[in-house]
């Protein structure tokens, strides 16, 4: 019995668990199990590699094994603690951070393997490709992380950055090809590594915060690709299947997000959002804004037949997910039908709002997606918009100069009454004015979401 065959079989099993895991992730009932299956596959692949991997150079002495287990121990504890402690609203930036770690890992592998593979052009090309992609993914993810957690909240624009980025990309490819062909001193590889890091930074810096989910998803598939190049280098099937699966998954997901915002991917990467001329001018605003009191809102909702809640990221920021569930319960007790309208990009990622509401025990058959809820607005009595703005902005349909023009929105203006809860009249994430607020059917309920909703629940309890 050859132990290397056992490792091959382990890799086969692990690859199958990755496919099954992703498959099971596509249904809410099996999703959690699917994730555990994939984790199980990863576990056996890692342990199998440590003990069974064989090559001409492979040796196992106690120092090395100690170092490997020590590294895994440190990574496990740190990863586990961070993942357990993070707040649900901070999820997207954490995914970005972990993605960056994977990219850095791929880049380091490239740096270390260069000297061993001199003389083999294709192996060097594979190493260089994996290193470039991994480095871009690493520095890009770190910038995305900083943007999402608010450290870097302004899109930074260097003059003619599109040209600059293109030049750097051409240089990256040129130097990469040169290195593969000529195999110069290591310093060239290191220079390429640094240049790739710079490219990652410049790639993400000019992109506005609203587009970060798309970028993270894209970088996620980049890291998958970097892992797959590693698989090619080592003839390692599990790295190959895992990497390619994520590469194609990430690409599909990226395109799905772009579709939800009705913008081509090229527009997200090269175009302007939340910066430059797009925000200039703005629509002509006429009409006035109406205020509504909490007790009036309570009365309006109490005597409605059907209420649709449009939650946005503001709801999560105010930590009002639980109160909104209470509001839903009390309205249902009073015989009002309540549903949630979920825009595909509500929150900071597709499905993010569902996760946040699920956290406060809102049942997921109450969460209705945009295409299904839009026809229901004409027979909805009251729409309550909490902490959402751009996803209900009619400018997306009417104003071709608006940066969100063409994005599908929730047609809340078809409902009988619209109540918008906002902290102030500040513009939404995309930085543009919202004509909905001037609609005669619309009333504004100013105040912190949690505070206002708590009072609303209180009013309703006394009715």
């Amino acid at each position: 019995m050859n132990s290397i065959y056992i490792l091959d079989i382990i890799y086969l099993i692990a690859s199958v668990t990755f496919v099954i895991g992703l498959k099971m992730l596509s249904h809410p009932d099996t999703a959690r199990k699917g994730n555990l299956w994939a984790a199980f596959g990863m576990g056996i692949a890692i342990v199998g590699t440590i003990f069974l991997y064989e090559s001409h150079y492979a040796t196992r002495d106690s120092t090395k094994l100690l170092l490997i287990f020590g590294a895994i121990g440190i990574g496990t504890i740190a990863g586990w603690m961070t993942a357990k402690k993070v707040q649900m609203t901070k999820m997207p930036e954490l995914v970005s951070l972990f993605n960056g770690m994977g990219g850095a890992c791929a880049a380091l592998i490239g740096l270390m393997e260069y000297e061993h593979n001199k003389g083999n052009t294709m192996a060097i090309a594979t190493i260089i490709a994996g290193m470039i992609i991994g480095s871009v993914s690493f520095s890009g993810s770190i910038i995305a992380f900083l943007k999402l957690n608010g450290t870097l909240n302004k899109p930074v624009r260097l003059p003619s950055y599109n040209i600059l980025n293109t030049i750097i990309m051409v240089v990256l490819l040129g130097v990469g090809a040169y290195i593969s062909y000529d195999q110069p001193e290591f310093i060239f590889v290191f220079g390429l590594f640094v240049l790739a890091l710079i490219y990652g930074v410049l790639f993400v810096l000019p992109i506005g915060g609203a587009d970060m989910p798309v970028v993270i998803s894209l970088l996620n598939s980049f890291t998958g690709l970097a892992a797959a190049f590693g698989g090619f280098l080592y003839h390692n099937q599990v790295m190959l299947t895992g990497g390619i699966l994520v590469g194609s998954a990430g690409t599909i997901l990226t395109l799905a997000m772009c579709k939800a915002m009705n913008r081509p991917l090229s527009n997200v990467i090269f175009g302007a959002f939340g910066g430059g001329s797009a925000t200039g001018g703005g629509p002509e605003v006429n009409g006035s804004i109406k205020d509504i009191s909490i007790s009036d809102t309570a009365i309006l909702m109490n005597y409605a037949k059907k209420v649709v809640i449009v939650p946005g990221y503001g709801l999560a920021v105010a930590q009002a997910q639980h109160v909104i569930h209470e509001l839903e319960n009390i309205l249902e007790d009073h015989g009002v039908e309540v549903k949630y309208a979920i825009h595909p990009v509500a929150g900071r990622m597709p499905g993010h709002m569902n996760v946040l509401l699920a956290e406060s025990n809102v049942s997921y058959d109450k969460l209705v997606e945009m295409e299904d809820i839009n026809p229901e607005f004409p027979n909805t009595d009251v729409v309550l918009v909490v902490g959402a703005n751009d996803v209900v902005n009619p400018a997306a349909k009417t104003d071709p100069s608006s940066p969100i023009y063409g994005m599908p929105i929730l047609d809340v203006e078809n409902a009988k009454h619209i109540i918008v809860n906002k902290r102030s009249m500040n513009a939404g994430y995309a930085g543009i004015d919202n004509l909905l607020f001037y609609n005669p059917k619309n009333s504004m309920l100013f105040g912190d979401a949690k505070d206002v909703l708590t009072k609303l629940v209180h009013e309703l309890k006394n009715m």
Binding site: L25, Y57, K84, F98
Partner: protein, 102 residues
């Protein structure tokens, strides 16, 4: 040119895996409802942590006296583990919430 052909020829099984995996990835992911997009992104993120296997292989292949390579490998394994463990745990946390319904 001949080098490229030789490379493709000698790696033909790997290329089969690549191409078939692309189709599998597209098929499997294409059906995920929007509700699960964030957990899916997170789960996929954990899976590409498989790159850690490359880091382990580098360490096993490194000469034990090469301190620099060993330390770089050590860092790579730590980073890879963060990706894997953090990714799966976060995904599980998200999905846990979907579970306790009704």
């Amino acid at each position: 040119m001949s080098e490229l052909i030789n490379f493709l020829g000698s790696n033909i099984q790997m290329l089969y895996i690549v191409i078939l995996s692309i189709f599998v990835g597209v098929e499997v992911i294409g059906k995920v409802p929007a509700v699960l997009h964030t957990p899916l992104m997170s789960g996929a993120n954990a899976i590409h942590g498989v790159v850690i296997i490359g880091a382990i292989i580098v360490m096993l292949n490194t000469d034990s006296s090469n301190i620099l390579a060993l330390s770089l490998g050590f860092v790579a394994v730590v980073l890879g583990t963060l990706n894997v463990v953090g990714g799966f745990v976060v995904t599980d946390r998200m999905l846990e919430m979907f579970k306790k319904k009704k």
